[in-house]
């Protein structure tokens, strides 16, 4: 694979002096050709600013941005081989679906016949053939979304930038569009850079994810890496549900780290490379709710008291309290023949191998 975008030392500051706002600080990032890349983070983390800089709507304060090996600083959006799907679609209300989709090609000065052929192809691609002559105001949100996608794909950009394109859709439609987007990305082979604050969306669709907060990239990796080996407390908390525990280090040596678990003994824990831990030091450790299961008390890694059960359909969340008072949530997949324990019961828990992870703070 070759690099589609190379970003180094990229910063963006809005305003000046004391009121200056550092939207992005020192971003280093490489996006490969043909990958589905997601910028994930809470609102205000700088992900949209980064996307707008790639598109050309904002110019960087410092740093370099190369698209396909070419420095693009100073070039406007109309001089970059990228197209954007806007958060609220930004379809031209005075044009038909057909004219909207053909707009980019028309501006590029392509022959009329070529524009018509490409528009037909795009209409088929997003399954909107029947709506070609409608105005955007006569379309539902999902249909407008498809038109916005077709419009951005029609000029065959090297890269498609998507700014929270699914946030305005209801849940069911959003799920549909997620697989639709993934299908389009695979069919067209175009690099997708996707911005979202929805961690589930990011996990299901992306090849790689950059988790951002406060203008910085905290972790860069595949969905598996991000979910299973979060680099710090923010990433662990932002991606998926997690139990965050404060535990003391029981031993630290060549064969790994063990943590003292209240009411149990010492449990082996995974810890990031390069982190030196002292015995007795209190560290932050995380366990995913689905990586613990109930077991007989005799075989338990740790014990806890059940406070409450919350039913979610496919699974049930057990809200537990550990011996030292820390909360712990366990997610159990529902099976017809199982009986939920009652509040007040003392339960034994067993953790999956590698489930307990020490985090850098």
């Amino acid at each position: 694979m070759s690099a589609e975008i190379e970003i180094s030392g990229l910063s963006k500051v809005f305003g000046q002096g004391a009121g200056a706002f550092h939207a992005l600080s020192g971003i280093d990032l490489t996006i490969e050709t043909g990958e589905f890349f997601t910028l994930l983070g809470p609102s205000g983390c700088g992900k949209t600013t980064l996307l707008r800089m790639i598109a050309g709507f904002e110019q960087p304060t410092a740093g370099t941005l190369r698209i396909n090996g070419e420095e693009v600083a100073g070039k406007g959006p109309n001089a970059r081989p990228v197209n954007t799907v806007f958060q609220n679609y930004a379809l031209f209300p005075h044009m038909s679906v057909r004219d909207n989709i053909g707009f980019g090609l028309k501006m590029l000065g392509r022959p009329r016949a070529e524009v018509a052929a490409t528009v037909d192809e795009m209409l088929r691609l997003v399954r909107m053939e029947a709506m070609a002559t409608r105005k955007p105001s006569e379309l539902s949100g999902g249909q407008q979304q498809r038109v916005a996608l077709a419009r951005a794909l029609a000029p065959r950009p090297r890269m498609l930038l998507l700014d929270e394109p699914l946030s305005a859709l209801d849940l069911k439609l959003r799920k549909e569009m997620q697989s639709e987007l993934k299908r389009l990305q695979i069919e067209t082979g175009i690099t997708f850079v996707f911005v979202t604050h929805d961690q589930e969306e990011a996990l299901t669709m992306s090849d790689r994810i950059a988790v951002m907060n406060a203008g910085r990239i905290l972790q860069l990796g595949t969905p598996h890496e991000i979910y299973n080996t979060p680099s710090d407390r923010f990433v662990a908390g932002f991606i998926g549900d997690t139990n965050v525990l404060s535990l003391a280090v029981a031993s630290s040596g060549g064969d790994g780290v063990t943590l003292a678990v209240p009411g149990a003994g010492a449990l082996p824990a995974a810890s990031p490379a390069g982190l030196t831990l002292l015995v007795g030091q209190t560290v932050t450790a995380v366990v995913r709710p689905e990586q613990a299961r109930l077991c007989p008390l005799a075989e338990a890694d740790l014990t806890a008291t059940l406070e409450q059960t919350v039913f979610f359909g496919t699974d049930t969340h057990l809200h537990l309290r550990l011996a030292d008072g820390q909360g712990f949530i366990l997610r159990r997949q529902n099976a017809a023949d199982e009986v939920d324990p009652a509040p007040g019961d003392r339960l034994g828990l067993r953790l999956a191998r590698g489930a307990l992870r020490v985090l850098k703070d």
Binding site: F86, A90, F103, M107
Partner: protein
């Protein structure tokens, strides 16, 4: 019970109906009837029905041989000049109004009322005073000629006053706010993300303006054009003060017939003509608007 309530509702609209009948339709009807009567000796009308006034709007008889009929080119010239000057005024207002409205619409929201306030100040000043101010500026020994002379740009004063140019200048100045305000209203609602989308799809600045911004603010242009054209074609004060007696518009011709001319039926017929032109402009406007918004809106 039901019918009583219905009756009450009808009564509630009575004031509006009275205003509509007495203040709008009534006078119009009188004007229409007068246009088919004979002029009275000392002004007013004699109740003798005739089509003479309407005949004289378009045609004239030879003074010595009444059977020789020719076009009344004096009246038709005034009619044409009124339409032409008003169209020019509308175009000038649109050309000047667009950048002005764009400037205001792109200021931070907190500053916009200030700029709008500046635009509307002339509204609160008497039109006569404003028009005489322009007269003072462009007359032979006026501000503009004095300034140009002082700069050495001219050797003899420019004859600006009492020309079509003077009327255009005055009307464009008087009616400009009527174009700026609806344009501003349309631009304020403009979604600037659409402009970004156009840039993103390879449009240059000029093409984004032409393909996205102008179509989107078109309703503002249409509303502004109507608001400028209708009062412009009926102008009286501006052509009177800046055109002198030399360059007349429809409003002055009508006033002349009701005044010195003492030909009320002709004045009435010309007034109806004015109404017809204005109505035609409005119908054209409504057609364009309904074509724009054809089909259901979601």
């Amino acid at each position: 019970m039901h019918s009583t309530r219905h009756g009450w509702k009808w009564l509630l609209s009575a004031p509006a109906l009275v205003v509509l009948v007495l203040a709008a339709s009534g006078p119009l009807l009188i004007v229409l009837v007068y246009s088919f009567l004979t002029p009275g000796n000392m002004g007013g009308v004699a109740w003798v029905p005739t089509g003479e006034a309407w005949f004289r709007v378009f045609f004239k008889r030879d003074l010595f041989e009444p059977d020789v009929i020719t076009w009344n080119d004096a009246n038709l010239m005034v009619l044409w000049r009124s339409v032409w000057l008003s169209l020019q005024t509308t175009v000038i207002c649109a050309v000047l109004g667009f950048p002005t409205a764009w400037f205001i619409a792109t200021r931070p929201p907190t500053n916009r009322p200030f700029w709008l306030f500046l635009i509307t100040i002339p509204f609160w000043t008497n039109i006569l005073i404003r028009t005489f101010a322009i007269q003072e500026m462009i007359r032979n020994n006026g501000t503009l000629n004095t300034l140009l002379d002082w700069l050495g740009l001219i050797s003899a004063p420019l004859d600006l006053l009492f020309t079509d140019f003077a009327i255009l200048l005055g009307m464009a100045y008087v009616f400009l706010p009527l174009m700026v305000l609806p344009l501003y209203a349309a631009m304020e609602k403009l979604d600037f993300r659409l402009v970004e989308a156009a840039y993103d799809l390879y449009a240059s600045r000029r093409r984004a303006l032409w393909h996205v911004i102008l179509p989107m603010v078109k309703p503002g242009f249409i509303a502004g054009s109507i608001l400028v054209f209708i009062p412009a074609i009926g102008s009286y004060v501006t052509p009177r003060v800046l055109g002198g007696g030399r360059t007349m518009m429809l409003g002055n011709l009508i006033a002349l017939q009701f005044g010195q001319g003492r030909n009320w039926p002709l004045g009435a017929a010309l007034s109806v003509m004015l109404l017809v032109i204005v109505t035609a402009a409005l119908v054209l406007y409504l057609r364009t608007v309904s074509k724009e918004s054809g089909g259901p809106r979601g």
